[in-house]
Amino acid sequence: MPKILDSLRGAATEAGGALLGRLQHARLPGVGQSSVTDDPDTAARRWRAVTVLCSPERIGTGADLPAPLAALGDRLEVRITPAPGDKGTELAARFRDRPSDDDLGRLRAALREAKQLIEVGEVLRVDPVPHGVREPTPQGAALEGMTAAAGKEGVL
């Protein structure tokens, strides 16, 4: 029985992460910010971008890019442009080849981390967070899956 429960919880965790991934592609009235009308190739080729409050020179290029982006190596194209209205610098990136969903997740996380490293000097951590007893329920597992995926999902 415990094995069955474990596998159910595992499935719920995966489902939670997957649900978050799908939610951003759902065009429900008032919910979701997707480009669902894009065909998959176009969607994969879109630039993912963050705006960083710094000068363009601060971003760096190639191996001098912030470490999370540099780690993705030559697979990335990077575009750096001043943001209008003194809002900093637009840092955009996309894969030269056809990325998987996992690749896109890594890119979103890398862009957010790069921005934090430049603006704050470190990447904000929340875990381990103090908490009480967490009963191993399917709903709880689904939320944990969603939380674990949250840094790699979203609208970038």
Partner: protein
């Protein structure tokens, strides 16, 4: 350490949990001296914000003493008595530089959830679900405070814990509503909700020069507090037609600024109330917006409606026609507390802002389940239950 946790819908438990630790250089660890329930906690408690995990520590409005500092902290030191803003903000991103701290780009470690729901992610908030970053809350003996130089403010010696506690959220939120609602000398301001935030919005409007201020609620003990401690006029919506009363009181114009301090569980009498309850329970709308509707209908032409109450999703029967045709400005925000806290503490020190009356029930952390029951059911005149985790 001991902490009050959410363990399920309408269930709070006090448990032993691990102590917090410094994880980033700009963190401090606080020994919590005072921490209070907030009306917005009730949305979490009731399961209206479905991103709580059993065991999550509640609480986002608090004050304490610094007991440990990260090596990147410059302006806070061990022993400081500080009040902390409820939203986690870095102080260096574009939004923080515009003093829009609750919109911080770097305060929510789980941005994918709110980006998927709302298009962009606001900052994080202590003790306010995994949608807002999963930060542990303040109903605990200790709490980790990230970006401490930005969000933790030293309390002046002459200001008591009991008073300064509410600078954390209730006063700063209320002040934001009056300020960003554009209150000007001579204005008439109406506030929906006589809880801590509503009372402080009314007080802020008066301090900003409003000539007439009305607060709308139905609970006699809260309306009495408004008259006694805030000095504003009151309207009991269970006894009075609010729109007619406000028209009569304003020469037919309506208030210049209308501040909604109620949120997604607004109570409303009559058919409207039943309609919203049914639709919310059937999940045909997530939030009950009756106070927002009334504020829009009450507001004078060209006036401003500021939504301070917390909403999470979608509402029905939103009077967009009234908002558009009357030329209203409708604004809202989670609290940009860091923008207001220094001047609030100064006014507290001068005695212009008093908040002690809000703490109707002060008790130990172990009594948090009872405190939340009283606060939710509004029994014994409870306006705020305040916990003292370290005695």
């Amino acid at each position: 350490m001991r902490a009050a946790t959410w363990t399920g819908v309408n269930e709070v438990s006090v448990e032993t949990v691990p102590d917090p630790q410094i994880l980033n250089e700009h963190d401090v660890i606080l020994r919590v001296r005072r921490t209070t329930t907030c009306g917005s906690d009730l949305h979490l408690l009731g399961g209206y914000i479905p991103f709580m995990r059993a065991g999550d520590v509640l609480g986002h409005e608090f004050l304490g003493e610094v007991v440990e500092v990260g090596r990147g902290v410059r302006e806070r030191k061990v022993g400081d008595r500080v009040v902390v803003n409820s939203f986690v903000a870095c102080g260096t991103c574009w939004y923080c530089r515009q003093e829009l701290y609750s919109l911080c780009d770097n305060g929510n470690p789980d941005p994918g959830i709110t980006e998927a729901l709302w298009g962009q992610s606001p900052g994080g908030c202590f003790g306010y679900s995994h949608a807002m970053g999963g930060w542990a809350g303040s109903h605990a003996e200790y709490i980790r405070v990230p970006y401490a130089d930005v969000g933790a403010f030293v309390v002046p010696d002459g200001v008591s814990d009991e008073r300064a506690l509410f600078a954390s959220d209730a006063v700063s939120t209320g002040w934001m509503g009056a300020d960003m609602g554009g209150t000007r000398p001579g204005d008439t301001v109406a506030v929906w909700g006589a809880g801590g935030v509503g009372q402080m919005a009314a007080r802020a409007a008066m301090l900003l020069g409003a000539e007439k201020v009305f607060v709308v609620d139905r609970l006699p003990e809260r309306l009495a507090q408004v008259r006694t401690h805030v000095g504003a006029e009151t309207i009991d919506y269970s006894q009075t037609d609010v729109l007619a009363e406000l028209r009569e009181q304003t020469g037919g114009r309506g208030p210049d600024v209308c501040i909604e301090a109620v949120g997604m569980e607004a109570h409303s009498p009559g058919v409207h109330g039943v309609y919203d309850q049914v639709k919310q329970q059937l999940r045909l709308q997530t939030d009950r917006p009756s106070a927002v509707r009334e504020a829009i209908l009450a507001c004078r032409k060209g006036g401003t409606v500021f939504v301070l109450g917390v909403f999470g999703g979608m509402v029905d029967k939103y009077p967009l026609g009234a908002a558009m045709n009357k030329g209203l400005t409708v604004r809202g925000a989670q609290v940009h507390g860091q923008r207001y806290t220094p001047r609030i503490l100064e006014r507290m020190a001068r005695g212009e802002l008093t908040t002690e009356h809000l703490a109707t029930h002060t008790m130990s952390l172990e009594e948090a389940p009872r405190g939340y029951r009283m606060f939710k059911d509004k029994t014994d005149g409870c306006v705020r239950a305040v916990f003292t985790p370290n005695g």
